[in-house]
Amino acid sequence: MKEQIAKIKESAFAEIQNCKTLQELNDVRIKYLGKKGELTGLLKGMKDLSAEERPIIGALVNEVRNNLETKIKENEEAMQEQALNEKLEKEKIDITLPSTKIKRGSKHPINRVIEEIEDIFVSMGYDVVNGPELETDEYCFERLNLPKGHPARDMQDSFYVDPEHLLRTQTSAVQARVMMDNSEKGPIKVICPGKTYRRDDDATHSHQFGQVEGLLIDKNISLADLKGTLEVFVRKMLGENSKLRFRPSYFPFTEPSYEVDVSCFKCGGKGCNLCKQTGWIEILGSGMVHPNVLKMNGYDPEKYTGFAFGTGLDRLAMFKYGITDIRYFYTNDVRFLNQFDRKDVD
């Protein structure tokens, strides 16, 4: 009996080894391990064995059976893997060929700057407000202490559509609106970014340009508060090492008034072509809200003081991104726009 088992084992292993396909393997399994298989047949002759021999032979048959099953499974898996590999090999592509180009979106550089400014001021508790671009002479000038015929109107040559309406020359127009709209005449803390328009057009001036205005009104607001606020803003925007210089100046709607220069970020203040060898770049107009402006817009200048500031968005964007001609912002060449398709370097 033992010899018989050894024989079956030997021939079964030889047949498994010769199998080329899964089908052949399956045939071998049935031939030896099936219900009518050779090994199964052996078990039927067990009843003729002695009590001592029966468990020994039984164990032996089971062992061979297990060996065969394992071997068949191994060969089956090997064949399957080989088949898969052959399939994958056939499907191989050239991964170095060019990709399918997905169109990339980009944010306009001026809006990038606006969003950055908004984030800085919103984090300091300012609201972002808007106003009309087609403004009245009253809000754009008169309520800001610039009556008709005032020489300072020369600084802002305007596009009128009728004697009382014009395209706003400054976002400052929103100052008066915010003050008038505040029915409680309480504290105000706003910035207003937006488009502005002047009769001017060359490499450094566009007839349409962006500004952002800031206005803070409360009790006990001082020039020192303005200085501190602008220092935070400019350093966040243009670098922590930026130095600020306040130069007394004149705007009809603030008193005292200051122009603010920032140390040149290209040369660090040593003097270069960007800062025209002065080491400074003018970026902001600012001042303490003129008592006439407070009064005209319903605030009591004895109780409230405030500061206001304004800056040109185009200039800021030019400095930030090293753009030399303001017209690039408005011609919108897609090759130019595509350069603004990624986040700022932190």
């Binding site: 399918t100 559509v161 607001i221 001082s222 210089r245 100046s249 060449d333």
Partner: protein, 676 residues
């Protein structure tokens, strides 16, 4: 305003160079454009031509021996006026001349030349200041010019100039005297008195001359008479100071009127007294009244122009330009001097039509009536001294001006509260003293008397600004305002739409809202009136857009011309129109797509109607309109739209946008979505 350092030194001691002065002025609020020497040249020396012979190889060059004191130089010179015995300006070897010229040892057609004899032009004076002889040859110094000395000093042209961009409120700084007070405050120096002394003859101007003012736009008019003037060239210092200030010297009388304007800030006008007659009337012009001005142009005036008349006809445009008929000329003997104050707004309007001048600029900024009196006396002083004039006794006066000095009460708390400082009272008083403001202290109230020259100062805050700028804003420490803590609010919707569109692969653009009026009514059937500018810069941009499509099409075409064919762009912007006499201004989104949306080998997708419809759907779903929008046809279409390939986007039966394919040939492939 160009500031001549020599000129201002008449009134205040200055011992810093012009760059330092300009920087110091900037720090107190007077920005400068440039600061430099009047003559920007080095190594110049006075020489005398000892010998002068024709160059053997030239028909115009001369070989000269020029004595410059320490040595005799060989110089080849091409000027026609060079000759033996002439005193000349010599640029020595190594001299730097304006325009980047360096004088080197030379050899001109075989003859050595160690220097150059200069014309005034070569020293860098603007051509408007050059006389005919300056352009024709080298400059001829007078016979008494000392050989070996500095010619610039000898010609009294050793001046330095700073050109300031003054703010509109500081009309007082449009004068040397005003500048002297400002510099006096910076350097803590006193300002010297101006010399107004002159003799008088028995004849009283009031006996033969009358002034009548028939308009409220002139509140001060003074006239004096100078007789027997000699018209000649001005002395060098007057000419040079005018040149330094940017004004061309003409003759002594005209120069004096300009000189006094620069010095005192009050524009003057000189009339030929014999041509003028016995009367001046100031009134508003009549509509269509004619006047021939100094420049020989006939002007047509209107009711907003102030005119000077002789009682019957216009002889001058007040504050802007004199008339031709009463101009001071070579043969003028007697002069009527006008010193007056006209309304700044009226002068501004008139000068905008005719010409902006040094005079009109000063009227616009406002004048100190006390200076009006000072200027007319100063003119007499100078006319007596430099034009041999006899000054008639008396002044014809029309005076409705307020000449009172303002008094303003202020406390040190007012100052420190607004500036956020702790400046001691003495420091503030010191600032007022430096500025030349009188003050008195009563308890804690400081009463400051503001001189009439400072018309910009009328309220407390103006005084606080003065303290701030003279004390120095750099000395004020910045801090953050202490306020109730709060989070700022803003409307995120524009940002959300922007980010969504960028995520969909579109480039955000920013376009001009001004377009040509022919484009204004296109791409829409809405009922509105296009808004036109009264005074456009160009006809291309004379109207406010209603639809944003023309703006985006312009960008598309700009890109197409540069061979950028794949243009998928959007803008969030505004459209404008007039409806029932009301101006409307609406926020809009406009999308333009064309060319390829994505591109790869065997995998390229061109933009078509359904692609842009997909973009529209993406946005609508993102904004939460799912289930509420639909795409519908509409029979009423603008003719620019393809009738078969246009869809209106409807939300709850309101049309909010249009997707369309263009019908024009050039823009065949473009699809547009335009929505509110």
């Amino acid at each position: 305003m160009k500031l001549s350092k020599n000129f201002v030194k008449d009134y205040v001691d200055i011992d810093v160079d012009i760059e330092t002065l300009a920087e110091d002025m900037t720090r107190v609020g007077n920005e400068y454009d440039s600061a430099e020497k009047l003559i920007n040249a080095t190594k110049l020396i006075i020489g005398e031509v000892l010998e002068c012979e024709m160059h053997p190889d030239s028909d115009h060059l001369h070989i000269c021996k020029v004595n410059i004191g320490k040595e005799v130089l060989d110089i080849v010179c091409g000027a026609p006026n060079v000759r033996k015995g002439l005193k000349v300006i010599v640029a020595q070897v190594g001299a730097q001349l304006p325009g980047g010229i360096t004088i080197k040892e030379g050899n001109i057609r075989g003859k050595k030349s160690n220097g150059m004899m200069c014309s005034i032009e070569e020293l860098g004076l603007e051509s408007k200041f050059l006389k005919e002889e300056d352009k024709a040859g080298i400059h001829e110094l007078p016979a008494n010019a000392p050989v070996g000395e500095d010619p610039i000093k000898f010609m009294e042209m050793d001046d330095e100039i700073a050109d300031f961009e003054l703010t509109a409120n500081r009309g007082d700084l449009l004068s040397i005297l005003g500048m002297a007070y400002e510099l006096g405050a910076i350097y803590d120096r006193p300002v010297k008195e101006i010399d107004l002394k002159h003799g008088e003859i028995e004849e009283d101007v009031n006996d033969s001359f009358k002034v009548e003012v028939n308009t409220e736009n002139c509140n001060l008019f003074l006239a004096k008479k100078a007789l027997n003037v000699t018209i000649k060239e001005s002395p060098a210092f007057i000419k040079n100071r005018l040149i330094a200030s940017g004004i061309r010297p003409i003759n002594n009388v005209v120069d004096i009127s300009n000189y006094v304007m620069l010095e005192v800030g009050q524009p003057l006008h000189f009339y030929d007294a014999d041509r003028l007659g016995s009367k001046i009337e100031v009134r508003m012009a009549k509509n269509n009244e004619k006047l021939t001005t100094l420049d020989n142009i006939e002007r047509t005036l209107d009711e907003d122009d102030i005119v000077i008349t002789n009682g019957t006809e216009a002889i001058g445009l007040a504050g802007v330009m004199g008339g031709l008929s009463t101009e001071v000329e070579e043969d003028t003997k007697n002069i009527i001097i006008e010193s007056a104050v006209f309304d700044g707004v009226k002068i501004r309007c008139t000068s905008k039509k005719i010409v902006r001048s040094e005079a009109s600029n000063r009227f616009e900024k406002g004048l100190d009536p006390n200076r009006t009196y000072m200027a007319i006396e100063r003119a007499c002083t100078l006319l007596e001294k430099y034009a041999d004039a006899k000054i008639a006794k008396g002044t014809v006066v029309y005076d409705k001006a307020d000449k009172q000095e303002k008094k303003i009460d202020i406390t040190i708390e007012n100052i420190n509260n607004l500036l956020g400082t702790e400046i001691p009272q003495e420091e503030a008083l010191n600032v007022f003293r430096k500025l030349g403001f009188k003050y008195s202290v009563n308890g804690n109230v400081i009463t400051v008397t503001v001189p009439t020259r400072r018309m910009d100062i009328s309220i407390k805050e103006d005084l606080i600004e003065e303290v701030g700028r003279i004390y120095g804003v750099d000395n004020i420490e910045g801090k953050l305002p202490v306020l109730e803590a709060r989070t700022g609010k803003y409307d995120k919707s524009a940002r959300e739409i922007r980010n969504k569109m960028i995520g969909l692969g579109l480039n955000e653009v920013m376009s001009y809202i001004l377009i040509n009026d022919k484009e204004a009514k296109k791409f829409t059937t809405d009922n509105f009136e296009a808004i036109k500018l009264l005074d456009p810069l160009t006809e291309d941009r004379n109207t406010l857009r209603y639809s944003m499509i023309p703006s985006l099409l312009k960008i598309y075409e700009y890109n197409l011309d540069r061979n950028n064919k794949d243009v998928s762009i959007f803008e969030i912007g505004k459209g404008f129109g007039k409806v029932n006499d009301d101006y409307i201004e609406e926020e809009k989104l406009c999308v333009l797509m064309s060319g390829k949306y994505y591109e790869g080998i065997g995998n390229t997708k061109n933009v078509d109607f359904y692609m842009i419809k997909g973009v529209a759907e993406e946005l609508l779903e993102y904004l939460g309109y799912n289930g509420r929008y639909s795409f519908v046809r509409n029979s009423e279409l603008p003719k620019e739209f393809h009738p078969g390939q246009t869809a209106f986007i409807s939300i709850n039966n309101d049309i909010v946008g249009i997707i369309r394919k263009s019908t024009s040939k050039r823009n065949k492939r473009r699809c547009i979505y335009n929505g509110n």
